[in-house]
Amino acid sequence: MSAVTPPRSATGSGPLPWLKPAVWLGGLSPLAVMALDAWAGALGAHPLERLLLQTGLLALLTLILSLLCTPLRQWTGWTWPARIRRELGLLAFGYACAHLLLYLLDQGGLGGLPADIAERPFITVGLLALALLLPAALTSGKGSVRRLGFARWQRLHRLVYPAAALGALHFYWGVKGDKAEPLLYAGALAVLLGWRVWRSRFGGRRVKRDSK
């Protein structure tokens, strides 16, 4: 960020200068709500399970929102969605990490993890989703595009698609009984990924120009 000259006035820093900070503040505010719930004893009889569920939902939700950015820009012509895509992706990665840490806390350490990964597809799939997000998170800075070259950077970031699909599957498997909510998430994701497939097949040359 050192290359950016500090804005002389609010108007000097480009359109919507408050957008990214607002996404960070709003995106991290559930942490404050969780802390407040914990302090007020409002997490219920099984606090850890509540936090495990909420961080998992936050990860999947912000990841799906990050995948909404490009289509939204295409459909509306707005440019602001593309400018918060990185922030949403990083929020998703952060919440997924918190979700894993809470799971390990619940398990009392790493001891049971190898068996869980080997024997329980539910866990395997969730952990794989997080692993697929890692390269994208590590190369989310501006310099990375330059270092890797755009094509390679883009290929790497397409790992987010299978990660999101695995995340949705993990949620679907994790819910007992009423699967309406995981199906809703899976449906939203299917639309967003389906749109990309459709566009790459039938979108023709426009795709190349727009995908910059």
Binding site: P30, L48, R50, L61, A115, K179
Partner: protein, 317 residues
């Protein structure tokens, strides 16, 4: 007012508005608030000595937690839903008054009996049992109830009877969960006859010195302390003695995950998690309620392991 200051205020307002809307939306979609904790109707529950324990020294789960964290899918799928929706069942029970239980099948004196009649057949007993949920959490709960075996001997069963089927309340008009076909309603559970006759098996009518709260399965629920919680059918309306093993709700819905026997067994894992340990929900420990080793037959092995001599408990999970 200078234009810079006006810009500053405008951006500030947009910043706060966007952050609040985004953060509020995320919280709204992902936060599952616990229901307001219920004060016991008579205040009796509050008077239960705070350090009451089971025979192994486990603290009794406070009334407020035992009535706000429940699996009772007729009243919703969230853990807090049964408490939030309890009024629906309370109203239904009031409209039904008196609650009846129909004994049928291989029974010598079949019929429909008022709950009050059942209470006259044998004395209610106080039993503090561990409840181990198949989801790897547990509580210690002070029940009041009727030993099921006494009732079965009272109605009599034929020599053909080998199993006992329990059917829960069926009232889709009153109970929102039954308006979706996620499970095959009504909820059905079952025991082998010798399990049903075992002195530990209870038909509970009370909890923590109170009449059984709706979210815990009012007015009458099964309690089988050495089996996972889902075996203990709530709001029972029919008890049917059968020759064949009953098709129980969860073992039909997900046969790989939930068996007919469902004995608490730390050596037989659920496909999605280990059953070797459990989190004890007794309101202590804050975020990290104590995780403890799960005991074979939930700590009742001395009493019940004789029921399963020679049986492969991995196959009959």
């Amino acid at each position: 007012m200078s234009s810079t200051r006006r810009e500053f205020l405008k951006y500030g307002a947009q910043f706060i508005g966007t952050a609040a809307a985004f953060g509020g939306g995320l919280t709204l979609l992902t936060r599952r608030a616990a229901p307001a904790q219920e004060l016991s109707a008579s205040g009796l529950a509050a008077e239960v000595p705070p350090h009451q324990t089971d025979e192994l020294g486990g603290l009794v789960t406070p009334f407020a937690l035992a009535t706000s964290y429940n699996n009772f899918y007729e009243l919703g799928w969230g853990k807090g839903d049964p408490a939030r929706q309890a009024e629906l069942l309370r109203r239904y029970i009031a409209a039904q008054e008196p609650w009846t239980v129909t004994f049928g099948g291989e029974v010598e004196r079949p019929g429909t009996y008022d709950l009050a009649a059942l209470l006259g057949w044998t004395d209610e007993q106080e039993r503090t049992y561990r409840l181990r949920c198949v989801e790897a959490w547990s509580m210690v709960l002070p029940w009041r109830g009727l030993p099921l075996g006494e009732l079965l001997r009272r109605v009599g069963y034929t020599s053909q009877a080998r199993y006992v089927q329990f059917t829960s309340v069926f009232a889709p008009d009153a109970l929102p969960g039954q308006r979706s076909s996620t499970l095959d309603w009504p909820y059905v559970e079952g025991l082998r006859l010798d399990e049903a006759l075992h002195p530990l098996t209870l038909l509970a009518t009370g909890l923590h010195g109170e009449a059984l709260p709706a979210q815990n399965g009012a007015p009458l629920r099964l309690v089988v302390p050495w089996k996972y919680g889902f075996k203990s059918a709530k709001s029972v309306t029919h008890i049917t003695l059968t020759r064949e093993q009953p098709a129980t709700t969860w073992s039909v819905a997900a046969p790989r995950e939930y068996g007919f026997y469902a004995n608490v067994n730390p050596q037989v894992d659920h496909p999605r998690w280990s059953q070797a340990s459990e989190r004890r929900l007794d309101g202590t420990g804050g975020l990290l309620a104590e995780r403890r080793e799960t005991l074979m037959f939930n700590g009742y092995a001395d009493e019940v392991s004789g029921l399963y001599t020679g049986q492969d408990l991995r196959r009959d999970f």
